[in-house]
């Protein structure tokens, strides 16, 4: 007996499974909210120390730097996964067990990473740039390095399981990844309804993350062997290529997962459903291919890297983010324009997130120009641009999602919420702009101790960081006080 045919966009969840999923997703979001706040405090501490407000010893500074970096990357993945899973589960049958398994692997990994850093003193930066984990000049042990690397592997294993499950569920529902990417509509003459934006974005995130995490596991394992048996060596340039491929793809995927919140929630405010138009499908397909090949822009100053790869890196830096970004940004403006929207903190955060993503890409593309990268690479220009499109882009998407979850349980916006929104947005823009200005003044990134001429900008940066943290504390408090009812 065959099951009755079901329309592709028909819901696949029942009320009870929706409630169960909501509970786990609320847990994901709650952890994300708390960790974002904690890691932003870490950022504030670093900027305040550079500004001379107080002094972090260099070993502690670089430990915090490492924790801030790896923590932000990992928790952005967790928060992005929450957004993706929450909405994707409306279209395909995802495994709640895998969602929980990912969280377990994540927490186990985090325990090891935190232990390696704050007990073992590991401070090689989140990028664990080979062979630094194994060569600390006695400032951390091989055991600490190994613990960190194993911790990151565990986090990766959890995400790999999650993306394998999303891939399985998508193929099971749509028949192939090509169909889930809208190929029949984008490249053929199909008049069938295309997959919804959530499915397209989730498919892209899943496809790009599987090879990225696999490559990450390879270099993590090679670094682990090197840490335990220093006689085993890896080509340093190859190691860099592997690390930046993994890191670039993973962090970009956090935006792609988080933007689903914009696709799903903003239409509830505008009354204009987000459609998978042909340009939308073409854009996501183009971005999927380009994001896998653009990472050499992290290696422009490695003159030994093949020039053709670096040239390709520059060209793709200009073009990779633009299809999705241009389509999403223009569509956001179009959907919101004269829509009669009633602004709430949720809608405002989601709207601003597209602005943050768009504005941050500009200095990123500028830095993705080899001739300019020569005087900007590894200056504070770099955290300047990525704090705009990650903090005011991806993080804003995730906070928008959290406000949506909270407001769906009857939490109304207060004046404090609105004040927190402006503190986050304006404080964040000013904070990142100070980074950009510092980079334009050639101030290097990742320096525990700053020279006297740099301190003035550091103080400004610390001040604006304090404003951002204050706004985020309100966001997080609001969400956590509602988290219990969300999961009920």
């Amino acid at each position: 007996m065959t099951a009755p045919a079901r329309a592709l966009d028909a819901p696949v969840v029942t009320a009870s499974t929706e409630s169960q999923a909501r509970g786990v997703v609320a847990l994901y979001a709650g952890i994300t909210a708390l960790v974002f706040a904690l890691l932003m405090v870490f950022g504030l501490l670093m900027r305040a120390s550079q500004a001379g407000v107080f002094t972090l010893p260099p070993d502690r500074f670089y430990q915090i730097l490492t924790a801030h970096g790896i923590g932000m990357v990992a928790i952005s993945g967790l928060g992005g996964a929450a957004v993706m899973w929450y909405f994707l589960s409306r279209y395909v049958a995802l495994s709640r067990g895998i969602l929980i398994a990912n969280l377990v692997f994540f927490l186990l990994g985090v325990v090891l990473v935190l232990g390696a850093i704050f007990i073992g003193g590991f401070a090689a930066g989140w990028t664990f740039l080979y062979p630094l984990p194994a060569r600390s000049v006695g400032t951390w042990s091989a055991a600490a390095a190994a613990t960190y690397l194993v911790g990151v592997v565990l986090v990766g294993v959890g995400f790999l399981l999650l993306f394998l499950d999303t891939t399985r569920a998508i193929i099971s529902k749509y028949g192939s990844l090509g169909k889930a990417l809208g190929w029949p509509q984008a490249f053929g003459n199909s008049t069938a309804d295309p997959p919804p934006p959530t499915v397209v974005a989730s498919t892209v995130a899943s496809i790009i993350n599987i090879p990225a995490i696999a490559v990450g596991a390879v270099i993590l394992t090679l670094s682990l062997v090197n840490a335990l048996a220093p006689g085993f060596a890896v080509n340093a340039l190859l190691a860099k290529n592997l690390i930046y491929f993994f890191g670039h793809v993973f962090i970009n995927s956090t935006i792609y997962m988080s933007v689903i919140a914009v696709y799903e929630i903003l239409p509830q405010y505008t009354g204009r459903p987000w459609k998978s138009s042909k340009p939308f499908l073409l854009a996501w397909n183009a971005t999927m291919l380009m994001v896998l090949a653009v990472y050499p822009h992290h290696l422009f100053m490695d003159y030994a890297n093949p020039t053709w790869a670096n040239v390709l890196g520059q060209i793709l830096s200009y073009t990779s983010g633009l299809p999705v970004l241009a389509v999403t940004a223009v569509a956001t403006l179009g959907y919101v324009n004269r829509s009669g929207i009633k602004w709430s903190v949720t809608a405002a955060l989601l709207f601003v997130s597209i602005l943050g993503w768009s504005v941050g890409v500009i200095p990123a593309i500028v830095d993705g120009t080899i001739a300019i990268n020569r005087v900007m690479h590894n200056t504070l220009w770099v955290p300047g641009h990525f704090h705009i499109y990650l903090m005011l882009g991806m993080v804003a998407m995730q906070f928008g999602f959290m406000y949506y979850l909270a407001s769906s349980r009857g939490a109304a916006d207060t004046a404090l919420d609105r004040a927190a929104f402006w503190m986050f947005v304006l404080g964040g823009l000013a904070f990142a702009t100070v980074f950009l200005a510092s980079g334009a003044m050639s101030i290097p990134r990742r320096w525990a101790v700053h020279l006297a001429p740099w301190i003035g900008l550091d103080r400004l940066g610390a001040f604006f960081a304090l404003i951002v943290v204050a706004g985020v504390v309100v966001f997080v408090t609001k969400f956590l006080t509602r988290a219990r009812s969300i999961s009920a």
């Binding site: 260099p58 340039l237 003159y303 030994a304 241009a326 320096w447 101790v449």
Partner: protein, 174 residues
């Protein structure tokens, strides 16, 4: 020069985008015809796409002529050997004069470092990565007399911020 271009482009386009988003946000509470808005979006999308292509193609083409990887240049007048160690630079210091073609061969003895050359105004003028197992070559002609500081631009451990070196450029040809 490059820093100014970076700031100018980012500032102008950033302010423009913020202005557009702010305008749409302010007028969003009014209502309009959704189909007309969709058609307008499609026009804007095409305009944005074509506009970006028109800007990007020449920008990419021109900037790629300014890459620092040149290998077929005339022979250098002066060769500097630089090696990054945790946490000090070992730099051969031959006399360098303004106007001479200088070749700086940069490598690392232990981990990755970044060889950043700063002028007397603390402005980064060029850089390359110092990598174990590889030699990256900077070709540069100094146009001003002075002491150029070398700062490490790749995180290399707890003494990263203490890695200073220098190159001295004098006025007359040696």
């Amino acid at each position: 020069m490059e820093q100014r271009i970076a700031v100018l482009v980012s500032l102008v386009l950033g302010v423009l985008l913020i202005g557009v988003f702010a305008y749409v946000a302010r007028t969003a509470s009014a209502t309009g015809n959704a189909e007309a808005m969709a058609a307008s979006s499609a026009r804007w999308r095409r305009t944005a796409f074509v506009g970006l292509l028109l800007v990007f193609i020449p920008a990419i083409g021109f900037s790629l002529t300014k890459m620092p990887y040149s290998s077929g240049d005339a022979p250098a007048d002066v060769v500097v050997e630089a090696t990054g160690n945790q946490w000090a630079w070992k730099i051969s210091a031959p006399p360098i004069a303004v106007g001479q073609r200088v070749e700086i061969r940069v490598t690392a003895a232990d981990v990755n470092h970044g060889f950043g050359v700063y002028d007397g105004k603390n402005r980064l003028i060029t850089q390359t990565q110092a990598m174990p197992g590889y030699t990256n070559v900077i070709r540069h002609t100094f146009t001003e007399v002075g002491t150029y500081r070398i700062l490490c631009l790749e995180y290399c451990g707890l003494g990263h911020h203490t890695m200073f070196g220098e190159l001295v450029v004098t006025g007359g040809a040696q």
